[in-house]
Symmetry: C2
Subunit: 87 residues, 2 copies
Amino acid sequence: MNTVFKALNDPTRREILQLLQERDMTAGEIVEQFTISGPSISHHLDLLKQANLVIAEKEGQYVYYSLNTTVVDEILKWFMQFKPKKK
Amino acid sequence: MNTVFKALNDPTRREILQLLQERDMTAGEIVEQFTISGPSISHHLDLLKQANLVIAEKEGQYVYYSLNTTVVDEILKWFMQFKPKKK
DNA sequence: TTAATATTTAGATATTTGTCTAAATATATA
DNA sequence: TATATATTTAGACAAATATCTAAATATTAA
């Protein structure tokens, strides 16, 4: 959970997740969506990868990033503990 | 969402939320559950308050903290956007 | 093989964050 | 009123973080 919350605690990284929710993208395509440098985005992608929120797959000289939706369920489960008990 | 994720990005603060899920507690009672100093806990409580995750109510010389569960729904909704679309 | 393109790694730097102690504030009690 | 208790505020400091530029690595194309 620690790496997940760390990864989510940045607006750029949350935007990246939202982009990938639409479609898979290469690192370069993601960089184009922002004004910050390539290396910075690369670092953000690394943190998202560490948190298992995204998956990276190399295809030739490109690296395709996609959302790893299975982790979302874990997060949802974590938050459900705070939903007030029924009745 | 920014303040929420900031607040959640710390193990102590997440533990505080879990404690408050059990029952409301005074600042002092919360401090007792940890080895870190009172002022540090007070700071954590402030961040949780800023994120609307907890509510503080003064009663005499004590301050009672309780979970604000309404925000949980907002967070859950935010995460639902990443659930893969049906079909 | 050489040059171009895509991406990551390394290292530097300014900002943010978590923690502490000391002091301030507020309330209750003797 | 003076003292004790509960909590927060202020200020300092070390560690973590987001960003940058320059360099390294990998792949494709000429």
